[in-house]
Amino acid sequence: MTQSHRIPGRGLIDRSQPLNFTFDGVMYQGYQGDTLASALLANGVRLMGRSFKYHRPRGVLTAGSEEPNALVEVFENGQHTPNTRATMAELYGGMVARSQNRWPSLGLDVMAVNDLLSPFFSAGFYYKTFMWPRAFWEKLYEPAIRRAAGLGRLDRRHDEAAYEKAFAHCDLLVIGAGPTGLMAAMAAAQAGADVILADEGSALGGRILADQPEIGDMPGLTWLETMRTDLAAMPNVRIMTRTTVTGAYDDGTFGALERVGLHLADPGDLPRECFWRIHARRAILAAGALERPIAHRDNDRPGVMLASGLRAYVSRWGVNPGKVVLFSNNDSGLATARALTGMGIDVSYVDPRPIPVTEEFPVYAEARVIATQGRKGLKSVDIQHRGGTSRVEARTLALSGGWNPSVHLACHLNGRPQWDETIAAFVPRSDMVPGMIVAGAARGTFSTGACLQDGLEAAQASLTALGIRKKPRLGVPVAEAAPYRIAPVWAVEGDGRAWLDFANDVTVKDVKLSAQEGFQSVEHMKRYTTQGMAPDQGKSSNVAALAVLADATGQGIAATGTTTYRPPFVPVSIAAMGAGGRGTGFAPQRFLTSDAQSRAMGAPMIEAGLWYRPSYFPRAGEKDWRDAAEREAVMVRGAVGVCDVSTLGKIDVQGKDAGRFLDFLYTNTMSTLPVGKVRYGLMLREDGFVMDDGTCARLGPDHFLVTTTTAAAGQVMRHMDFVQQAFCADCDVRTISVTEGWAQFAIAGPKAREVLATLGDAPDLPFMGCAPMTVAGIAGRLFRISFSGEQGYEVAVPTRYGKDLFARLVTAAESLEGCAYGMEALNILRVEKGFITHAEIHGRTTADDVGLGKMVSAKKDCIGKAASQRPGLSEDRQQLVGLMPVNQGETLSAGAHLYNERDPATRVHDQGYVTSVAPSPTLGTWLGLGFVVNGRARHGEVIRLDDGLRKRQVLVEIVDPVFFDPEGGRMRD
């Protein structure tokens, strides 16, 4: 199709690069430099969307990120992104866009019946109508309303596109690159500050691009190009276009969303978006101002837009708007009418003020627009003036109700702007965000000349605060500095619906109703009417709405105040905010040196903390995990098994006070441990509950090596650092993690020693002994400890040798009718022995609960000791017990609760719960560990296991938690 509404020769678009695109299946053409909105307008398309609630036909209102109406779905790689603002979507060749919230089509939307029913859908309608019966809300009302009202639809697949996050640091962040921001950035950069200049537009310039004023006796665009070139050449300036600063946070931290590849037909490896965290010592908010419409009857038709938006479409994108009526209450609107006329546009100007009628275009002074016609596109406008009412044909109605400074970011730390009567707008106060200066139009300074001046002054003040003495060279160029006068008009009186919030379909009447029904605070009005709660957050409607409210309540605007400004300034995709954290990026993956071999052996890997550990090593003929795990457990008890235990935390503790330090950390005494011996240790939190357990080996007089559980390694390290730095700062003790430095393997079973012998001369260690060992030529360590109940060793070598050592251990074990064993077999073996893990020491159990009360030494203080003895931690506690099914074949399940045989499964009858279960091939039955009220005194009692999730009820006998080899002879001998 031809670009029927493009003005020949006008606009900052590249006519040598025509771009084809489709909207709702129709092919159109635009140019490089267009947005989707400007390209559609250039093709004469004014209808771009349907409104949220009433499905009213809507066109584009603005030319910026504040757009409430023109939200579309854009397709990429077979997926679509809903709620894309057509004003921000830069056109590329092949773009496919679709309107949303309509059915079956944008032109014919059956839900527009809501519009006819609008008398029933006024503010608070949901609250009043859908109250009863309560159950209907979730099942009927809400789903129906959600289908009818709404925005774009989510693509229900995972978003596989690339997103990026990044960090930046600077002395000065300049937010907005209009006249103010450009001056500020240049001045600060000339003085030597590190400057980031961020602007959400695709090019620097802000309103210069649309208004094209004279600056420094040259065309604004020429001045802009000079500034841009000079800034780009400065090594201390980082220019960030397509970057919206979305939030101001504490201590000079800002969030910013950069659109990186969204404007390209083929972005290649570019991310769609990048979310920046910027730290700036100082900031200048030069975000400009947003024009606001005027509410009057049917001011929402396609073809109605803001005067500033129209000016941008004409001058920047060469859009021909047809015949224009411009309704304004301020000098900026008048200036726009003049500029449009200068560009050859047919304009009629309407102003409620008594202004002189001395323009080149028709002027209706002391007049107002009272109605419009044209359902899917504006046809005519009714103007009430001194001489009566005239109907004027128009294709475009431009509104200018004045300007609201973009104070948003200045208010993100809860600062409140104040009302400025002279410009009828809220302006920021100083230092609402510490270190941030608001300058230019963002603080209500509207003329180009004043903005340039303000930008320079803001830079000078920032430089002083930064302690930079060097002065910038540039002076303030000459530019238009006309005063800005305004006579506030928020809503034109009259019948019909006058729209305030286009995005959420809120009318003047809705706001008045809110006040009438008692919702008179601005925060209440917002929630009652939903005004300002759409994706645009009411950027073009908040001030007008609160002004209408202020009028209705008689409170005045200043007293009414604004709602709270919160980040983000524009919608931010979750994908961008979470970039780098999706899928496996969520956390690092920690791989064992045995990982490749375990996977090659077919082992399914299971996450343990951040580690990946083998669950079991399946062999031919084994049909499930249980077959494999039981075979592995049997082999350990009958021959030998090897298992990678490198994931256990290992902390090296050195110093002449190391023993004393460990005595304070552990419940039991480590200082008396002889060199070459290992002791099991228990660590409490200061509140008396168990934190972790592990072993402590004394490698030398002043040298210990303690182990932690896999999952708690980081927590224990942090705890040790705390205890050392807070309470033992003068002790000669140093701790450091050596987890990563050693690959460590358990060798367990009656033939463990034979496996060990294949690695060299092993020291003859007693149970709980440790010694250096040369492991196949490499200096390593040997510990005689057991988590299986069998004769057990753990052999450690520097990590680089782990892969080879594991391979040799597996070969050796297999040659002795043994095997590698995984987490499932490890669990079977330890449950058979009643050894605890974090399933039992889960943060709510004491040393006594797990049967280790005697490990809390009476002879010394330790972390958690005092609290462990407080009242309530001793009587009628749930204690660790073993559980065996009365009928041997029955399955137990962890997480199930325990009840006396005849009691119902209700909370008051709860006797305890099951923490761990395992099928024991050794004993031929399922075994469980769990906690039962006074369990140690109830051995032999039968109790009911009730698993409500799996509908399982099993009678179990309470027994000692050590099911197998209670004397421990197998591991000691």
């Binding site: 960090f167 490896d269 780098g580």
Partner: protein, 173 residues
């Protein structure tokens, strides 16, 4: 019986993407030196570093690596230091990231202020590399050495390559 064979966490090779280059390398012996309270030892004739300091003597470096802790890289420590000493040679995977875009790549992964004015060549820092705790040495304006826990080497390499790919894509435009 043959001696155990050593293997690196990831292959020691170089990946060039755009204007950044990533090399996994073996720094040789690495020892943690943690002086006991109140002591400021001389380590292999080098003064114990202040936070962020790297002391160099020939091919041996003494690198600040955390609170009251330094890494001696390239040699074993002399006997008799009043400090806790652990061999960290196997605990870390080391990468060299260099090139014109090395800083831009790193800025995708660490909140550290990487401006030369804040993180000068010849200094070290402890900082996160995405979700991993890292030791970061700046060897030149456009060159870094990064150490992460050895078990996380593959994640580190993957994330660095990912960041390099994104930065290179920007360059290509």
């Amino acid at each position: 019986m043959t001696d155990l064979v050593a293997e690196h966490a990831v292959a020691l090779r170089t990946t060039d993407i755009g204007r950044a280059s990533l090399t996994a390398f073996d720094p040789g012996p690495v020892f943690s030196i943690a002086p006991y309270p109140g002591v400021r030892p001389v380590v292999n004739a080098m003064p114990f570093p202040t936070p962020g300091q790297i002391v160099t003597q020939g091919a041996v470096r003494l690198v600040w690596a955390g609170r009251e802790q330094a890494f001696l890289i390239g040699a074993a420590p002399d006997e008799g230091l009043s400090a806790a000493i652990t061999d960290q040679s196997d605990g870390w995977a080391w990468f060299r990231l260099q090139g014109e875009d090395a800083t831009a790549v790193l800025a995708r992964l660490t909140p550290l202020d990487l401006r030369v004015s804040a993180f000068a060549p010849g200094t070290s820092a402890r900082a996160p590399l995405n979700h991993m705790q890292a030791v970061i040495l700046r060897t030149a304006a456009d060159a870094f050495e990064l150490a992460v826990f050895r078990s996380m080497a593959q994640t580190a390499q993957h994330e660095l390559v990912e960041a390099m790919t994104r930065v290179a894509a920007r360059r290509a435009r």
